[in-house]
């Protein structure tokens, strides 16, 4: 037990030195950090939002929204395919989206099978062995065809929508000019956004809470007003609320959507009020020009997130590929809308389901109090250990110091974040390390009382205590892993530090202390042990 082969000593101290190197950047100022040559570790341990201040938002999408969007996209596919069918367009009626499925009736009963075949082909899965995303079947009515998205289809759609949502959110937050936001997906339908240093998340929430789906639709001027008042729109049309009150009946099909926007800026309208101007890409511009040419004299509606913002008349064809939205905007709200339009629409509506915001002052106070308290705690532990175990106490305290540096080094290199519960976890690992040394030292004392020689006492002490330390720490690792698997947020952070800490604690408190004890015993050859 007391003989340490050279390779063992070397690899032990090499591990310590490596961790120290990894921990070093944390002690450096940014200017010193810049001097570190590339290739050497320079990542600092980032502080969690609870320590440095900032906003944590959890957003959740409703999968039903994605399903609905998928059905709407299917509607376009169905119309297009039927129109371009071989042997002339297939006439259909009663196209409706209800109860998560799309149904329509083929007018010519002999062409139902053809309709099913072409739709099957149009919605065939990409890639070999991929699951079908929609099922197409005959409905209960004669000539009726039903299109139902499959579970796999919905799940793929949700997945795609969420990935896209993360990108849109990133663009929007970048527009705000905040630094280093963290945007990650969590589970199937959630996105966690963390913005350090942001004290008032209202602007951020306003940006994230809007879908920003922009549509241009023709106003249905032929609708029967009495029917509309009862909430019934003519087939192919829909009733939408208007921003200045009342309702507008518009055609369901959009002339053009915000997807074709390439830029949008704050401008002023002819009355000098803030407005938002936008520009379409070339295909969008052409389509807009064509639609406005064909419908001169008729009104069209500009719709944002299902709300009609304005419904101006088309006085003349709009050929330039750009336009302007004016409503009752302030500079701030116009700017917000411009950002939203620039960054594109969210494929799905997101709701904030959890918010945690910590002001930077509070974070700083917590750090200060945390440092003072930890210093006193460490001094108390060190004092007790040295008073109780003398030389072996000094070894333990030295090993404790290395332990903390190793935890910091590993966490910095692995890219973890230090949170308040993380600091608590660190204090507790120090506890585990202290316990390991107490076990060893008490065992040495016991052996000493049995009248054994110095070397025999130390040997037995380490050997017997090691087994117990191993048992106890395996259990702690189990608890830490379970915390990590099932815990959320703060518990996870705590579990990470605990797992790393338990490993380094056993290493420092047992191996390093034993090395130091062995060195002392072999070089000083003490006749008695004062422990």
């Amino acid at each position: 037990m007391l003989d340490f082969p050279k390779w063992k000593s070397w690899s032990m101290w090499l591990a310590v030195a490596l961790c120290m190197l990894l921990a070093l950047p944390n002690a450096l100022s940014p200017s010193q950090l810049a001097l570190i040559p590339t290739g050497l570790p320079k990542s600092q341990l980032p502080l969690g939002l609870d320590l440095r201040g900032g906003s944590h938002l959890m957003l959740e999408a409703t999968p039903q929204d994605v399903e609905k969007a998928k059905l709407e996209a299917l509607e376009d596919t169905v119309r297009g395919e039927l129109r371009n069918a071989e042997g002339g367009a297939i006439a259909s009626a009663d196209l409706s989206l209800k109860a998560g499925r799309l149904s329509f009736t083929v007018t010519d009963a002999t062409r139902v099978d053809q309709a099913i075949t072409i739709l099957n082909k149009a919605t065939a899965p990409l890639g070999v062995g991929a699951a079908r995303e929609v099922e197409i079947s005959r409905g209960s009515l004669p000539g009726q065809v039903v299109v139902t998205p499959t579970a796999a289809g919905i799940s793929a759609a949700v997945d795609g929508a969420m990935a896209q949502a993360v990108e849109v959110i990133r663009k929007r937050i970048d527009e705000l000019g905040t630094r280093e936001p963290t945007i990650v997906r969590q589970g199937k339908t959630r996105i966690v956004v963390q913005v350090p240093g942001l004290q008032d998340p209202q602007a951020l929430k306003a940006l994230l809470g809007k879908t920003a789906k922009l549509e241009f639709k023709l106003v249905d001027t032929t609708a029967d007003q009495d029917e509309v008042l009862q909430g019934r729109a003519p087939p192919g049309s829909q009733i939408l609320p208007a921003q200045e009150g009342g309702q507008v009946v518009v055609k369901r099909r959009a002339i053009i959507t915000g997807d074709q926007l390439i830029d949008s800026q704050v401008s002023t309208d002819q009355n000098g009020a803030p407005s938002v101007s936008f520009r379409f890409d070339s295909t969008g511009g052409r389509r807009f020009a064509q639609a406005t040419t064909e419908n001169v004299g008729k009104p069209f509606a500009i719709i944002l997130d299902g709300m009609v913002i304005s419904a101006p008349n088309i006085n003349e064809p709009i050929l330039g590929g750009s336009g302007e939205i004016s409503g009752s905007y302030t500079v701030a709200t116009a700017n917000e809308l411009a950002i939203l339009l620039r960054s594109g629409k969210l494929p799905v509506e997101l709701k904030v389901v959890e918010e945690r915001t910590v002001g930077p002052d509070l974070g700083a106070d917590s750090i200060r109090a945390g440092i003072i308290a930890s210093t006193v705690a460490v001094l108390a532990v060190a004092g007790l250990m040295i008073m109780t175990y003398g030389r072996f106490g000094v070894y333990s305290v030295f090993a404790l110091g290395i332990n903390v540096i190793m935890i910091l080094g590993i966490m910095s290199a692995a890219g973890f974040t230090l949170t308040l519960p993380g600091i608590a976890g660190m204090v507790l690992t120090i506890g585990a390390a202290v316990d390991a040394n107490v076990l060893i030292n008490e065992r040495i004392r016991e052996e000493q009382r049995k009248g054994k020689g110095v070397v025999a006492c130390v040997e037995t002490g380490f050997r017997e205590a090691s087994r117990t330390i191993w048992d106890a720490n395996s259990l702690n690792i189990i608890v830490a892993v379970i915390m990590f698997l099932f815990g959320s947020g703060p518990i996870k952070g705590f579990a990470v530090v605990l797992s790393i800490g338990i490993a380094t604690s056993v290493f420092t408190a047992v191996t390093i202390v034993r090395w130091m004890a062995a060195r002392w015993l072999t070089s000083a050859r003490p006749a008695a042990l004062n422990i």
Binding site: V353, A424, V434
Partner: protein, 315 residues
């Protein structure tokens, strides 16, 4: 002469005291459980949803006026509490009716109202959790605690014998229930951080029990003829210096954190301090003596040598 918290070679008859200890343990557990059943826990927004705002005012506000102001916003009954000093107020509001995300509008309204009426008001911390998320956090917390206990029991069973597993888990349940009872009694807020504390208490208490169990196993092997009661007393006494030393050291560190540390971790450290005291008590008086009741046998020591050898390689 080095400091010794426990004199050498103590010989305290812990086993003899076991019926008193069992009675006390039972009383504490039932008492805490009853308290939990009747009074419940002051669950934080993490678990019931709603929102908490830690607001710093320029001058100490009159609580009645402030409560009236918040209630006028019309977002439900508010609960106000001073936090650390009289200028810092914790405002709790219930989960609003309606869809997910409604809680966000409440945050905005209250913020607007207070910023308009109180000059220089600062929102140091805002936490809002929707109903769905909070119920998930509850189930996550329960799962974390439940699975920890289960795996601890399994590990102790495989590493030792089944009665060690049972006695350990019984003692752990006692520790957890008493800690929860303490939170019910003091009405300290019970949030996610406290769940982490409860898990850590399980970890520490476990540590203590494993150390004693390990010694019992070792002594069972060493003194094959000795009576089990004597063996348990011997083992608890032999490990007493370490049990006390470790607990005292940890308590010293935790009390420093409790008194000087940031307000945010007060509940966490309070739970830890209590947990260590309760855990140490249950290790010394409950879990080891329970082995007798469960009928531990000498053969518990058999065939452990091979496995124990493997463990030494770490040192």
């Amino acid at each position: 002469m080095p400091l010794k918290l426990v004199p050498d070679d103590t010989n305290i008859g812990f086993v003899k005291l076991r019926f008193i200890a069992f009675a006390l343990t039972l009383a504490l557990t039932i008492g805490a459980a009853a308290l939990l059943a009747v009074r419940g826990l002051n669950l934080g927004v993490d678990f019931v949803g709603g929102l908490t705002m830690q607001v710093e005012f320029a001058q100490p506000p009159a609580l009645d006026t402030l409560r009236g102001r918040v209630d006028r916003v019309g977002v439900g009954d508010s609960a106000l509490q001073e936090f650390g000093n009289d200028r810092t107020i914790l405002i709790r509001l219930p989960l609003p009716e309606g869809e997910e995300g409604a809680v966000q509008r409440v945050v905005g309204k209250v913020r607007g109202a207070l910023e308009a009426d109180y000059k220089g008001v600062k929102f140091a911390r805002v936490e809002s959790v929707s109903g769905k998320v909070s119920s998930e956090l509850i189930s996550d917390g329960v799962k974390a605690v439940g699975f920890s206990m289960l795996f601890v029991a399994l590990f102790t069973w495989f590493r030792f014998e089944w009665y060690f597993g049972v006695s350990t888990v019984v003692a752990l349940v006692h520790d957890v229930v008493v800690t929860l009872g303490f939170f019910s009694l003091t009405w300290l807020e019970f949030d996610l951080n406290i769940v982490a504390a409860v898990l850590t208490i399980i970890g520490y208490s476990l540590n203590d029990k494993v150390v004693i169990d390990d010694r019992i196993r070792e002594n069972l092997r060493k003194y094959r003829q000795m009576d089990i009661k004597q063996i348990i007393d011997l083992s608890v006494n032999e490990t007493l210096p370490r049990t006390v030393m470790t607990s005292v050291t940890l308590l010293a560190a935790l009390i420093a954190l409790l008194l000087l540390g940031p307000e945010v971790i007060f509940g966490f450290t309070a739970a830890m301090v209590l947990g260590i005291i309760v855990g140490t008590y249950s290790s010394i008086f409950v879990s080891s003596s329970l082995l007798i009741t469960l009928g531990v046998k000498q053969r518990a020591a058999g065939s452990e040598d091979a496995r124990a050898k493997g463990a030494e390689r770490i040192g």
